[in-house]
Amino acid sequence: MANENLNLTLKVWRQNGPNNPGRMETYQVKDISPDSSFLEMMDVLNNNLIETGKDPVAFDHDCREGICGSCSMFINGEAHGPDRGVTTCQLHMRKFKSGDTIHIEPWRAKAFPVIKDLVVDRSSFDRIIQAGGFISVNTSGNTVDANAIPINKEDADKAFDAATCIGCGACVASCKNASAMLFVSAKVSQLALLPQGRVEAEDRVLNMVHQMDEEGFGNCTNTGACEVECPKGISLENIARMNREYASALVKKG
């Protein structure tokens, strides 16, 4: 385990607003504990910037434990940085060496415009869910007993695995076409695998895919980059399942 504190050069994307041109700026940070997280390193940078009268770097974050999906940095050419199966907030500085230069950029995709610096607008994801990523059941207190429909454990586990998507957008950022297929297919799969979700499965997949196209996400060309960079290990199987669901829904519903 490395114990020595790190001195680093950071090259950070700075952009004042969606319509402003951006640029890379260079900063130095010193004495960073290898036990600190990447975002804690960014806190140090920002506090330095504030103390010297400069504008801190804007970035999204909240839970800082890999579950809210807020954090979204493209680090040294990879979504969420070099470690596998983690979000930016879970990336720890022990993955770097003193003297390293680290490049930090926002997600880049037409459907994710930059708001400021590393902050992007991912509301397109919300709109895709609004188009059909739900089961139409009102709150009532009169729904059937939760154990009335047994669900095969294997399907339940697969549905759960798909449902762990955190909506971070790393899949889009990693894809050369900026495709949102992994994200969309995760929700389609979760609900298609459960008996409760089957009823609306056809409309759901058609509506969600339609919205995805409307938002300007690119096509999937099966390069698989999304799966590699997905912090939650969402599998390409979901894309295959969605393609099947889509094809059969299209036949039935046109």
């Binding site: 036990d35 103390e51 909240d62 607008d121 095969n152 339940a156 955190i166 979760q190």
Partner: protein, 666 residues
Amino acid sequence: MALESKTPKGPLKDKWTNHKNDINLVNPANKRHIDVIVIGTGLAGGSAAASLAEMGYKVKAFCFQDSPRRAHSIAAQGGINAAKNYQNDGDSVHRLFYDTIKGGDYRSRESNVHRLAEVSASIIDQCVAQGVPFAREYGGMLDNRSFGGVLVSRTFYAKGQTGQQLLLGAYSAMSRQIGQGHIKMYNRHEMLDLVLVDGKARGIIARNLITGEIERHSAHAVVIASGGYGNVFFLSTNAMGSNVTAAWKAHRKGAYMANPCFTQIHPTCIPRSGDHQSKLTLMSESLRNDGRIWVPKNLDDVKAIREGTKKATALSEEERDYYLERRYPSFGNLVPRDVASRAAKERCDAGYGVNKTGEAVYLDFSAAIQRYGKEKAVVMHIENPSESEVIRLGEGVIESKYGNLFQMYEKITDHNPYKMPMMIYPAVHYTMGGLWVDYNLMTTIPGCYAAGEANFSDHGANRLGASALMQGLADGYFVLPYTIGDSLAKEIMTGHIDENGPEFIKAEAEVKDRLARLCNINGTKTVDHFHKELGKLMWDHVGMARNSEGLNKAISEIKALREKFWKEVKVPGTPDSFNQELEKAGRVADLLELGELMAKDALTREESCGGHFREEHQTPEGEALRDDENFTFVSAWEWTGDASEAKLNKEELTFEAVELKQRSYK
């Protein structure tokens, strides 16, 4: 003002049913003309917004994150309670009610808690209908686990991501309503004031966090579901943005704050490792189902472990002190959180802490790995499995139950918890205190409601594990949709509330003025600097153990810190742009007022109960000593215009169904 809980009459078990039958209803055609603002999209706000919109109200929902799906509820790990009795282990509505009252150390309102237990089963049904993928057994039925403070298995879970799955359920229900135009969603918006017209809550002032624009939003009722304020301690398991601002603005406009000092310090969190830390990470209580907590019996071993010359695994059973099993043989590792936290502190204060800082104990899974490994070998018909085979199988079972937590632990600490016991220490986790609400979840401001962690209602002085998710969803899906009708039924003739009225204009001017002031101080210290100072004062004096000297000190020092903040803080940028430092500054300014009130509340409560431990009040064995004669009440603090001069009001608590006893988990 006299505090009226509005608890319905009649026997405890009939109160909710009778109340629902008596409550005013709003006709569906009229609902379309009634606006409701919901602040927060966590389990409480998300479920409330979805349900109210389904019923036909026009809902405006707000969150400060970029999507409602990212509310802090997403981070809840372990599970959600419900009195389903699927395990046939003697669970019932009454038992859940009783466990919650007892767990809360008899400082909650019986009627509310009973209602919570009553609606709990419907929550699970509703979530399953929405497609929430709870863990299941091989037969396809739902699985359960146990949490602290209870002797039954009533906790439903989705690995260590229960909060995520429940929140995504509420989020999808909301999304459906957003898509249909019944909810207007305001992402990246922060409520910065509550607007009252003729004494009623009629809207809010919000800041668009992208543009910095200040907006007025009117409604016939406002629901505050803005979560807890554990971040007053700077280091906590809460998300970075969790804060008190929305609730505090309501407080300053007349809503009482109840039991603000009741804070939950969770026993199993990853210990602090240094000053760089921005937050602490929880290791779910569910781990105490299978993990055993211990420290070495001998100080020599402690020393060797700290120096790195000995490993935890090298200590024999006889050399280990499983102190919870020793002190509390009946509940063992599953005592309630407050008890487990104090016991860890006691051992560490006595010098038995096992890491460099002396503030860590072990949570050990080796026994569970052995047990599960052997069981699995039997199921798989492996005869005489080798030791390594058993361990491999056992680790597999542990992985399927807690995989994401173990991964999280390893990423943060760089230690493999399958091979070495985890190191854990208590950390601030949850705030039982919050806005005072009556049985209808209405605050002391007519038309202003509070739900979820933001209210004080159900957990008394200590919350049981897996009960916050239950409460948030109970409030939002099954309570508020009924109770809010009671006041909204009177609003059908009111018509649209004018956003250009003088009250809105005044509130907006005040918000703008405050933002400008923050930006113009132009001092030398960052917001984080003040937040850390506040956190240290809170942890040292208003934390796990409190005494009058420390509390008095905290009161005067927080006040001084607040004054310094307003002179020396540096907030870069302007109010009319995307400005994350300004957001933080506003929140910390409010926490600096709240902190003082928490200390004052703790000082006033001259007893120990649940998470509130006053060193002056303990039994000879060091257990919390309640004073039922003098303190069986809810402290409800009233804003008087000066953060140091809050006025105490009391809601006396009466118990009909349970007998007040000194809690015992022995």
